[in-house]
């Protein structure tokens, strides 16, 4: 177990990333209202510490497989806000040329194997990416992000077992935000201790405070260390919360605002800020600098995304197959 968070080296970086994500995600409802976003959009406001705590423990060539609620993972792993937002807007400068959107955004050079519209699917894909690393003798590791809802999918079970018997370099990161859409975790499992599931497979596991980026980082770095040195998979269960609805438009009738407030009081951003200030790594005035930087980055991203052209319709027929000749074969 990595014993402490390297505040001097990573603290400010983590804060900047969390603030960027917060700003980015907070604007999505407005963009949707303005007609800039179609379909479903799932913001991760409140959950920034999990994405960031894990991502900063990774190298660029380590991979992540993400979920429907994946913007934070992408940004933390190095995606440019502008190109990500352009994808969410369905524009030609989006990472996927507008074909994927929020639920299918991938960034190959940053090892972002994609957000995913199928709850649980990230778990299987990440397991396979870890298998590739093992087979090819590479020391990069693979991360699967998924929610507390996804743990009840068969793929969770099958994949963790596979990773266990093959000692695959994969870290399973369960973002337990207490709800799967409208379903409270307490109603959907009889044993709310999700780490018990890892024991079933003989996989090491840690429960971690998902509102504390330092705690997440420590657990992740330790799991990454194990994976990188051939010691196999780990399941991390990060307790967290989404401050907003499940998706843009959710009226949240399944939970009361007192509960939301209790969790908001544990907001990971002020917590890290206070820690950095206390440690003298940041002046109190820098708080505003951090916020301004985030605002500016997302302003720029928005401008970039808004200006980006609609994708040419001919691209709709490309990249179904490679080469695109099969289209002609028919």
């Amino acid at each position: 177990m990595v014993t402490d968070f390297p505040y001097p080296r990573l603290g400010r970086h983590a804060l900047d990333l969390m603030r960027l994500i917060r700003e980015f995600e907070s604007r999505l409802a407005g963009y949707a209202a303005a007609g800039l976003i179609r379909g479903s959009t799932h913001p991760g406001v409140g959950m920034e510490a999990v994405a960031v705590g894990v991502a900063i423990a990774l190298r660029t060539d380590d991979t992540i497989a993400s979920t429907h609620r994946g913007h934070a993972h992408c940004l933390a792993k190095g995606a440019e806000p502008g190109r990500l937002l352009a994808e969410i807007f369905g524009r030609s400068d989006g990472y996927c040329g507008g074909k994927g959107g929020s639920m299918h955004a991938g960034v190959a050079p940053h090892g972002i194997l994609g957000t995913n519209g199928i709850v649980g699917a990230s778990i299987g894909v990440a397991t396979g990416a870890a298998l590739a690393a093992q087979l090819r003798g590479q020391d990069n590791v693979s991360v699967a992000f998924f929610g507390d809802g996804a743990i009840n999918q068969g793929i969770f079970h099958e994949s963790l077992n596979l990773a266990a018997i093959w000692s695959l370099p994969v870290i399973y990161v369960c973002e337990n935000n207490q709800y799967a859409q409208s379903a409270a975790l307490r109603d959907m499992v009889a044993n709310p201790d999700l780490t018990a599931r890892a024991n079933a497979y003989g996989i090491p596991t840690h429960a971690v405070d998902g509102m504390d980026v330092a705690a997440v980082y420590r657990a992740a770095a330790s799991a990454v260390g194990r994976a990188r040195t051939g010691q196999g998979p780990t399941l991390l269960v990060a307790d967290t919360y989404r401050f907003l609805g499940h998706m843009v438009g959710d009226t949240e009738i399944y939970r009361d605002s007192a509960e939301v407030d209790r969790w908001r009081a544990r907001d990971p951003i002020p917590r890290l800020t206070a820690e950095l200030v206390e440690r003298g790594l940041m002046g109190p005035d820098a708080v505003e600098t951090v916020e301004r930087a985030a605002t500016q980055l997302v302003d720029q991203a928005e401008e970039f995304a808004r200006r980006s052209a609609a994708p040419p319709v001919a691209t709709a027929y490309l990249d179904v197959y490679q080469p695109d000749v099969h289209q002609e074969a028919r």
Partner: protein
């Protein structure tokens, strides 16, 4: 006086009436009782839990395979489960219980067991849900012996076909269309039989077989065509299995031309079955080869411009009609 309801509400009424009529009926699926709509992703189970309790309107974990499998077991043991799969794309996670269990149980056990299971879900594109929430998978199910496949396009059919599905002793795949939930129309609250196509618009110049979104587009085109003296007969098969080929054949005997429109990819899609069957049955009546207007061989892309491109629109229909009926050149395209 006949009620006018949106499709989602007609489905809600059908569930309510079925739950009230038969206490073996129950409903299960994800987010049925506490979601923002008041009932399921598109509201179809709204308020049913208030009336029938969470015992009969059951919120499930995200476990599509187990939910459908549990539906199979419960159906075998005398219940009438209605399982909601939030998007039909997720039914791919439950193909074993659907195809290997539900569809085959009656047959394998020689009629000892029946599986009166309904799987309700939605397919179709058009609202930016992208590749994993927009597929039209009906052909997959129609190809499987033992399954019934239903594609309602109007509120009255939504109500009537769902009642029939719940009464059916066979496993039924009931695929709503996500872009049609708010289409309103009269609802008679009568069961609609399976295997009887509906002639949605009579005409003499061309037979168009179309389902769901394509039906509505075909009807719009037919209305414009009539202004120009071209009369299109538009037929909604309503159920892919059982499939009412006779009604289509009778129409083709009259019009001598056939066009099939669907949203699923054309390749190996259900339009091929209709074209091939009708060609066999109506060889001597056909003046031209049946034409299919259908989805491109692509996943559904996210961006609006791209999504529109890969799904047939009214202009695609007009162009195909022009190919089959030379006198139809005057039909207005949607832009004009």
């Amino acid at each position: 006086m006949t009620e006018h309801l949106a499709i989602w509400r007609a489905l809600n009424a059908a569930l309510r009436d079925a739950l009230a009529a038969d206490d073996r009926v129950f409903v299960m699926g994800e987010d049925l009782t506490k979601w923002a709509t008041g009932g399921g992703i598109y509201g179809v189970t709204k308020r049913l839990a208030d009336e029938f309790g969470t015992h009969r309107i059951r919120d499930t974990p995200i476990s599509e395979e187990a939910i459908v499998a549990a539906g199979v077991g419960a159906a075998i043991q005398g219940c009438r489960p209605v399982v909601e799969i939030m998007y039909s794309d997720f039914s791919l996670l439950a193909m074993d219980p659907i195809v290997n269990q539900a569809a085959k149980t009656r047959y394998m056990f020689n009629g000892q067991f029946q599986v009166p299971l309904v799987i309700r879900s939605n397919g179709g594109s058009g609202i930016g849900k992208a590749a994993q929430h927009s597929q039209s998978l009906e052909t997959l199910f129609a190809h499987i012996p033992g399954l019934e496949v239903v594609l309602p396009a109007t509120p009255d059919d939504a109500y009537g076909l769902l009642r029939t599905a719940i009464q059916s002793p066979n496993p039924t795949i009931f695929l709503e269309h996500k872009a049609l939930y708010n289409v309103r129309g009269p609802v008679r609250r009568e069961p609609v039989p399976f295997g009887k196509a509906r002639v949605a618009c009579e005409g003499s110049d061309l037979t168009i077989v179309a389902t769901q979104l394509m039906l509505h587009r075909a009807l719009a085109v037919a209305a414009r065509a009539a202004e120009t003296g071209v009369y299109l007969e538009v037929i909604d098969p309503r159920t892919l299995y059982p499939l009412d080929l006779d009604t289509i054949a009778r129409s083709v005997a009259k019009t001598r031309r056939l066009l099939i429109a669907h949203e699923a990819p054309r390749d190996f899609g259900f339009g091929a079955e209709i074209a091939a069957s009708l060609t066999e049955q109506c060889w001597d009546h056909l003046d031209a080869a049946p034409v299919r207007v259908a989805g491109a061989r692509t996943p559904i892309p996210y961006a609006e411009e791209l999504e529109r491109e890969v799904i047939p629109d009214e202009d695609d229909l007009v162009r195909a009609i022009a190919q089959l009926v030379p006198t139809s050149a005057g039909i207005r395209t949607s832009q004009s």
